[in-house]
């Protein structure tokens, strides 16, 4: 048990540390990415269903597998779609600006 507690405490600090400095722009993608990661409950759902015997347990387990899968795939796909929008504007470096932008006017 103390091993698991150690892991827990260390993970708390890592969790605090990795997101301590994040710009406002990335708040939502980060939330969404973290959301996908807690879909790891799918691992737990597979493990319990994989050894379930009674009909009730199997049903509940499968429901958990289904829901967790929706969480995982939906979470990662939606995050990717959000981040796709940032392409060309990464790290604050504008790609289209100045002269190029002005020429398109009036079209």
């Amino acid at each position: 048990m103390i091993d698991l507690l150690t892991i827990f405490v260390l993970a708390v600090f890592v969790g605090f540390e990795v997101v301590s400095k994040v710009s406002t722009i990335l708040h939502t993608p980060l939330m969404s990415g973290a959301n996908a990661i807690h879909g790891v409950i799918l691992v737990g759902a597979i493990l319990i269903t994989g050894r379930a015997e009674g009909a009730l347990e199997v049903t509940l387990g499968l429901a958990a597998v289904f829901l967790a899968t929706v969480n995982v795939v939906g979470g990662f796909v939606v995050t990717d779609r959000m981040l796709e929008m940032f392409k060309g504007h990464k790290a604050g470096k504008p790609v289209r600006s100045g002269a190029n932008g002005h020429k398109e006017v009036g079209g």
Binding site: G15, L26, A36, G54, G61, P94
Partner: protein, 455 residues
Amino acid sequence: MSPTWVQLAYLVAALCFVLALKGLSTPRYARAGNLLGAAGMALAVVTAYVHGAVRNGLLIVLAVAAGVVVGIPAARSVKMTAIPQMVALFNGVGGAAAALVALTEFLAVPHGSVLFQLFTVLTVLIGSVSFSGSVVTFLKLQEIMTTRPVLLPAGQLLGVGAAAVSALLALSVVLTGSGVLLVLLALAGLALGVLFVLPVGGADVPIAISLLNAFTGLAVAASGYVLANTLLIVAGTLVGASGTILTRLMAQAMGRPLTNILFGAFKATTATAATDEQRTVRAGTVDDVAIMLGYAHSVLVVPGYGLAVAQGQHAARELAQVLEQRGVTVHYGIHPVAGRMPGHMNVLLAEADVPYEHLKELDDVNPGIGSVDVVLVVGANDVVNPGARDEPSSPIYGMPIFDVDRAKAVVFMKRSMRPGFAGVDNSLLYNPKTTMLFGDAKESLTKLLAAVKHV
């Protein structure tokens, strides 16, 4: 204990998750981070299946397939404007899955150690709260139910009551190991989640989602103790911890303490609407506004959710370019919570190829706002509401705003006189400096574009 190769695979997956979160915090590596997270997840899931699916293998594959069939199209087809509620929904099903996992394990092993029962109880309770809370935030953002804070009579009492009942049930489950009581606990958790989110209104809802996201992380971590699985503990804790920090950061961006956001609505009484004398609104025509814009020296565009809904970002960019050709300086004022999620406007304008350096934040804009000739408010409302600055009775009091009422003139593009997402009246509408331009943001912008060319 699982075999070494399984442990190692879980370790690699956990590392992927850490790096994913790290990557997601920097613009340059955000997308790569997300993909790395997905890769780690795939590794973990395949490992769990190969090692753990002794029985029901085919059924598990079918359930995963069903989840993929539901999840991917939902995530792909959702409109950019509706993404926050989609995230809320995905978060909710994750919470429900965690609760179900603990419940199932409890049914299989009814009389474990006290610690096992304690973590089972925690998983079920937090998972249920997260599920029902997320569903309510979804309903709010989807505008299926009102976006305003919902204050039940004696709502606070009900909340405390539900919390007390939950705690009592949790204790009795730990002591008795009763499955029936555990199901009752799940129900109490569902009620608690609803009561928790109902009073949160308007622009604060994304912050509630972020907090519920952290909750689900904790539920997953607790389930890791139930199953003695280190990966679940590490990943769940990571999300719980980073989600908590993120929630605080988001609250800071709103300029308010978290407790105020979650429980502020309890305090907000019906003190507003006292000064409802005959206030007049000045509506302008497209040509009036075109002249104002065309002969201005500097223009500030403040976009909001209305621009996103109308998909008017391209029209806004074209209008800005025409104005720039006339020698007008055009900047965009981007409020941290404009739209329905932080960063919403950056995403939207980036899509329309608005140069990054034209996007200005609150602190860049407000000091010099007195010299701005025309502020064009496009589909924004709460982020320019002077009440947030001047009226302590306002529910959004304390939120930083663009002080557009201090600019020389304001053009307010709006669909109707309806109040904004937070449901708060905006005195800026009645300001003598303000000209209203009613209509859909995209249509109005397109008309303006044509009109400005002929000024």
